[in-house]
Amino acid sequence: MSKQINVALIGNPNTGKTSVFNALTGLNQKVGNYPGITVEKKEGICKLPRGVKAHIIDLPGTYSLNASSLDENVVIELLLNKNDKDFPDVAVVVSDVENLKRNLLLFTQIKDLQIPTILVINMADRMTYKGISLNIPYLEEQLETKIALISTRKNQGISDLKDLITNYKELSTKPCLNASEIDMDYFDNLRKAFPNQLLYKLWLVITQDVNFGKTDRNEIDAVADFKTKSKADLKRLQQKETIKRYQFINDTLKKGQKIDLSTAKDLRIKFDRVLTHKVWGYLIFGIILLTIFQAIYDWSSVPMDFIDSLFASFSEWTKNTMPEGAFTNLIAEGIIPGLGGIVIFIPQIAFLFLFISVLEESGYMSRVVFLMDRIMRRFGLSGKSVVPLISGTACAIPAIMATRNIESWKERLITILVTPFTTCSARLPVYLIIIALVIPEGRILGLSYQALTLMLLYLIGFGAAVGSAYILNKILKIKSKTFFVVEMPNYKLPLFKNVALTVLEKTKSFVFGAGKIILAISIILWFLASYGPGNDFNNAEAIVTEQYASQNIPDEDLQQHIASYKLEHSFIGITGRAIEPVIRPLGYDWKIGIAIVSSFAAREVFVGTLATIYSVGSDEEETIKNRMAGEVNPILGGPLFNFASGISLLLFYAFAMQCMSTLAIVKRETNSWKWPMLQLIIMSSFAYLVALIAYQLLK
């Protein structure tokens, strides 16, 4: 096998870098994390001509090599560390034909690291539309590189890019800017002290804020002595460097690029006039949100019913087919219902991710940031907090990671703290099943009551997030520079391939991530529910038979009574009844109590837990929903899931902090246990209080 070529894809955000990555690797990609940090690492394999393979890393989008966030820091750490196993043999800088000037800034920086660099000019299909013409040979000569003019949308130029990667050894590594020009004396000193080092590399290390991570800096440790410049001086020099780079770029583009404004068309202005309008903008945003929730509810009900009954009959089939015994019971009553409790929500989660990725891909999300900034600031948040709050409807974990581009620490911290209030997809299973049980069917103005309830729960989540942000903003005494820059990208029709891959990837990680926990918990619960200590459990059959001996009841009913007696005296029943006094005022029985306790690992465990507990107690082939509807309140009689206890449960799940992964991520992003512990305690006690009040008022 020939050697793999290491390729790093680098580019500004919104240049279609990920589309290029998808075009090169297709389904041969995997998403992981950089060791020790939560920055997403995307890598893939691309087959090149002549049997050569390329290992491609899609680095986080960045505007320059001067990192200002953890994600951007990953880029510079990799490019400065020749010993890293992923250190690129060739860098591919992806640029957008409409923003070539700005995109070239990053290109010149990377070229100056003397890494062989290919320039990709993406979205070439828009050139005529925008009146742009490029003199490619001239640009290649001036920039001393090879250029691939491609269009991922039209699938053009990808093979040219592959050829360029294959022949990367022919690329020049001559820098664009002579680093010494930034400050002659200073760089002279540097050169004398480190004769073997690349000056620009030294300069990058000196000017980086090193707080983000540990750059491999053995070679440059000695530089500390050289920090003869104050921070303000360094920044002045960085500004000078930027100006020099733009001079070079402007000179190059003057001859290499022609823009004929008379033929250029601009839909951006027309769209923005409406979408960022002070009235229409908000109205449209509201309608989009409403549509999303209605769609999540309506479109996924058919596949969900199908999955539910599929799992019920699968469980039944297993019972009938496999030899009777504990192992069969474990599979039929523990694992299958537990897994069913998660698989059933795939349709909804996929739809949710679909909408979010379409909003982001189309460029609309930036408009929302723009529209909401002023309002969010009143609550101590930033317009950029809207993105975490919206993507928090999928999952709080990526949402909290998405706060990294919020420049002010205080605004960022508050966003992190309040994001778990937004209704994440893990709450959806709980909401949906309870709504289906306690909210009547029927429609008002074409919207179903059930969908409206769901919408209301989302609004409550946002309300709680914003309200607590307002309080935190008043309480937290943190001084930090506020500062806000957001790029307003062009509107684009989302690429099907990008959206599909995102939906696939996110859904997969949700199912497998949650699936593992749920599987483990289902097995444990099944054991706890199937075995018990002492006389009561082991002689359940005799005890119950005797109890009903005088009444002449059918054998079937007797078996039911035995099963539920057994469950009550199993390990789980004993634990459940021990905690029952705490949750009874909220209208729950001990079975719900167990489900709540186990869902502190992850909320979506709730349904799986109930499914497992209930199926241990019954023989019938039944869907989860029917089983829950049949439960009777042990004290008051009547259905256990009625309006009051249902609303109380909904509110409890709306506010409680029940997700260990989120707590772990908050700990990582804030670098302290203080904040996640505060979240856990405050959110959960607030949830208890609200659920208590709701039940007591409604019962």
Binding site: Y63, S64, N66, S68, E98, N99, K101, R102, L105, A232, K235, R236, Q238, Q239, T242, I243, Y246, R268, I269, D272, R273, T276, K278, S366, V369, F370, L371, D373, R374, G383, E407, T482, F483, F484, V485, V486, E487, M488, P489, N490
Partner: protein, 77 residues
């Protein structure tokens, strides 16, 4: 006549005259907010904040509190 960028009106165009580099983050400079470059106000959010600008061909939004640290010359077109 020099004014701060915060005072520009919708549809007006100008040339950046000076940026106060202590108050302006490097990132904004790198996005093209440098002396000599053109600037145009595209759209304003309610209460005129943040401002949606076209700086040197890049479309971006910044807050008013940042814009007051950027001096511009209105160009008559």
């Amino acid at each position: 006549m020099s004014i701060t960028l915060a005072e520009i009106k919708r549809g007006e165009k100008g040339i950046i005259a000076d940026v106060s580099s202590i108050h302006i983050p490097l990132k904004l400079l790198e996005m093209g907010c440098l002396p000599g470059n053109s600037v145009e106000l595209v759209q304003v959010a309610p209460f005129a904040d943040p401002m949606y600008l076209n700086i040197n061909g890049s479309h971006l939004a910044i807050r008013k509190e940042t814009a007051i640290h950027i001096l511009i010359e209105i160009s008559n077109e």
